[in-house]
């Protein structure tokens, strides 16, 4: 991130320790990380390196065992379960590897789901969900069930859902892990477009190098620590998308 910029995400010496029976698992061992508003960061590393744990902490799904995490001007480490839920509701959007759509709800209802918990009036929920579906190119598929959509389309519904309450931070955990190459490219291009249009901060966890190439900064985890944090020129393909 550029020097002097106020970070959106600020992790300081964060530890996460689990106890699985008698075994102590140190998933994170003193991680410090700043991510500025509007950055597109890829977090990479082998499985078990702590990247998903770090993502869960950033997403306010979890609390650090030790250390502090500030999101904007809020110290998340001190928040209650429901206060964190409120932050997830208003400021964070999640995209998962397996989409995690509600299988018996339509695309429109899936997109509207976060708005229910944000107390958005019903008519407004419908209107915004339609708009979002149109914005990600699924106009006309509002009443489709997830099972009637392709993997790439399901992931786009999930992205629309993540944007429902107008978050500033989009977290994607292996967003292309279940997709073919073409769909993966489409999804990553969509990320780039959304970032530009909506000034989103995007953090993507991935183990696929060509996905990480879309980001302008790559943070590598190994054994619960950050071993490298390097800026990079976005790939030509991605740059094309940015120009477009």
């Amino acid at each position: 991130m550029a020097p002097g910029m106020r970070p959106l995400i600020r992790l300081r010496d964060v530890w996460k320790v689990y106890h699985l029976g008698d075994v102590e698992v140190r998933a994170l061992r003193g991680v410090s990380l700043d991510i500025g508003a509007g950055e597109f960061v890829a977090i990479v590393g082998a499985s078990g390196s702590g990247k998903s744990t770090c993502m869960n902490l950033i997403g306010c799904l979890d609390q650090p065992t030790r250390g502090t995490y500030r999101l904007g001007d809020v110290d998340v480490s001190t928040l209650s379960v429901n206060e964190r839920a409120a932050i997830r509701s208003s400021r964070i959007g999640f995209v998962f590897q397996n989409f995690n759509l509600l299988g018996r709800s339509t695309a429109l209802e899936n997109v509207a789901l976060p708005m229910i918990y944000a107390n958005v009036p019903f008519a407004e929920q419908r209107r915004r969900a339609r708009e979002l579906l149109a914005a990600i190119g699924l106009h006309g598929r509002e009443q489709h069930m997830p099972s009637q959509l392709s993997g790439g389309q399901q992931q786009r519904v999930a992205i629309a859902r993540a944007l429902a309450n107008g978050p500033s931070l989009l977290l994607a955990d292996e967003p292309t892990g279940n997709l073919d190459t073409q769909s993966s490219t489409e999804i990553m291009d969509l990320f780039l477009r959304l970032r530009r249009e909506r000034r989103l901060t995007i953090v993507v966890v991935t183990h696929e190098p060509h996905i990480a190439e879309y980001a302008e900064r790559i943070v590598t985890f190994r054994d619960g620590r950050i071993v490298s944090d390097v800026p990079q020129a976005p790939s030509s393909h991605a740059a094309d998308a940015v120009r477009a």
């Binding site: 979890d62 997830r88 998962f96 995690n100 759509l101 509600l102 018996r104 229910i116």
Partner: protein, 410 residues
């Protein structure tokens, strides 16, 4: 409110998703509520029947029967002593101000004959005031009056059962001459049908005749003026204890009973008997109700069981909801509403079942039943409460899920 209705819609959708499972889960509550409602209907019906019975005996009655005798150490049954007389009865009329009316009766089982038919029935010798103390309309003819009484006229008023036994269908008994213990009597009236008592005694199997006629011509009494029963009506229900007290004092005085010795008569308050039978039926009803409640309880456990299954099945859904910003209360509410919807729909179905079964019992078994709206509403609400109570634990379990673990759940 918006959120609440969304939750309700979501809940009904979740239940519709697996109709058979939802229906089977509700079955316990349906049967429970149906059973409770049916039991209450039957209980109330029986109660009302008993009440009506007591009412038909007359209002605010006190019955006096002679006491037991003790002769040479042998204790005979109550009512055996010839200690109660017409004079006692008339004295009660005169000396007890709280008494409204008095009648008395002398009874005996007799053979009555008409043409080639004969029948054994109870002959009651009663004064003309009898029907005013014990309300009993006539279906035909007239009741005997003071002149019949004074003249010991051989006239009789028959109960319906006796009419049915002696006369052919359609034959008019009025004016017919029947023989009671070989004494010819003219039938002057027929009593309206009263039916059986709660304890199965046929009240219509009776022949009423003037007291003097009975005493002198039929029953062959050894001591003139003795009676088997005196019936007294009090002016009001509140006056009953006072009437009882006055009668007891008067009769002890008249019978010269020394202080400390037992009464030689028994005074029974019929309202007390009514109360007792009411209590008995209440005990019965509570017993049946508690059995029915067990079914409701089992239904509640069924709901809890299926909700726990549902929470496990939908762990990922819960994880997604938590991730997109649902608070613990939202999840708690969702599953609580689902459990309550199950139990309320079951409760409504149970109310319908209860009404149907009650109707069936009323028409097939001819039991007196009385459906009550408060009981139906009560059973329905109890079902709802059971849903909330048994739904709470699974709902809390869902609400306390860790979002990360829930999202990873396979």
């Amino acid at each position: 409110m918006n959120l609440f209705w969304m939750t309700v819609i979501t809940a009904f959708r979740a239940l519709r998703r697996n109709v058979l499972r939802s229906a089977l889960t509700m079955l316990g509550v349906i049967i429970g509520v149906g059973a409770v409602l049916t039991m209450v209907s039957i209980g109330r019906g029986a109660n009302a029947a008993v009440q009506q019975e007591i009412q038909s005996l007359g209002n605010n009655l006190v019955m006096i029967i002679p006491g037991a005798t003790t002769a040479n150490g042998v204790h005979s049954s109550s009512g055996a002593a010839a200690s109660l007389t017409v004079a006692d009865a008339t004295a009660i009329t005169k000396e007890c101000p709280a008494v409204a009316d008095v009648a008395w009766a002398k009874r005996q089982v007799v053979q009555v004959v008409y043409g080639n038919q004969n029948w054994a029935t109870a002959a009651h010798g009663v004064p003309p005031s009898y029907l005013s103390v014990r309300p009993w309309p006539l279906s035909a003819g007239r009741f005997f009056d003071q002149r019949d009484e004074a003249g010991a006229s051989p006239v009789a008023v028959l109960g319906q059962t006796v009419v049915d036994q002696l006369f052919a269908a359609g034959e008019d008994p009025i004016g017919a001459i029947i023989r009671v213990k070989n004494v010819p009597f003219e039938v002057i009236g027929v009593l309206a049908r009263k039916g059986q008592t709660a304890w199965g005694q046929d009240q219509d199997d009776v022949v009423l005749m003037p007291f003097l006629t009975a005493e002198r011509r039929v029953l062959g009494t050894q001591i003139l003026g003795t009676v088997d029963m005196v019936v007294v009506s009090a002016a009001t229900a509140d006056a009953l204890p006072k009437v009882e007290r006055q009668i007891r004092r008067l009769l002890r005085e008249r019978h010269r009973t020394p202080p400390g010795q037992d009464d030689d008569f028994t005074v029974r308050d019929l309202n007390e008997i009514a109360e007792a039978s009411k209590n008995a039926s209440a005990v019965m009803m509570n017993l049946l109700l508690s059995v029915a409640s067990v079914s409701l309880l089992v239904g509640g456990i069924g709901i809890m069981n299926i909700m726990l299954v549902s929470v496990t099945e939908r762990t990922r859904e819960i994880g997604v909801r938590l991730a997109v910003g649902a608070r613990t209360e939202h999840i708690l509410l969702q599953f609580l509403v689902e459990a309550t919807a199950l139990s309320l729909v079951g409760g409504a179905a149970g109310v319908v079942l209860g009404i149907v079964v009650t109707r069936l019992i009323a028409s097939l078994a001819a039991w007196p039943t009385l459906l009550s709206a408060p009981a139906a509403a009560g059973a329905f609400l109890v079902a709802g409460a059971i849903g909330i109570f048994f739904g709470f634990y699974p709902a809390r379990r869902a609400a306390r899920l860790d979002p990360i673990a829930a999202l990873r759940y396979e």
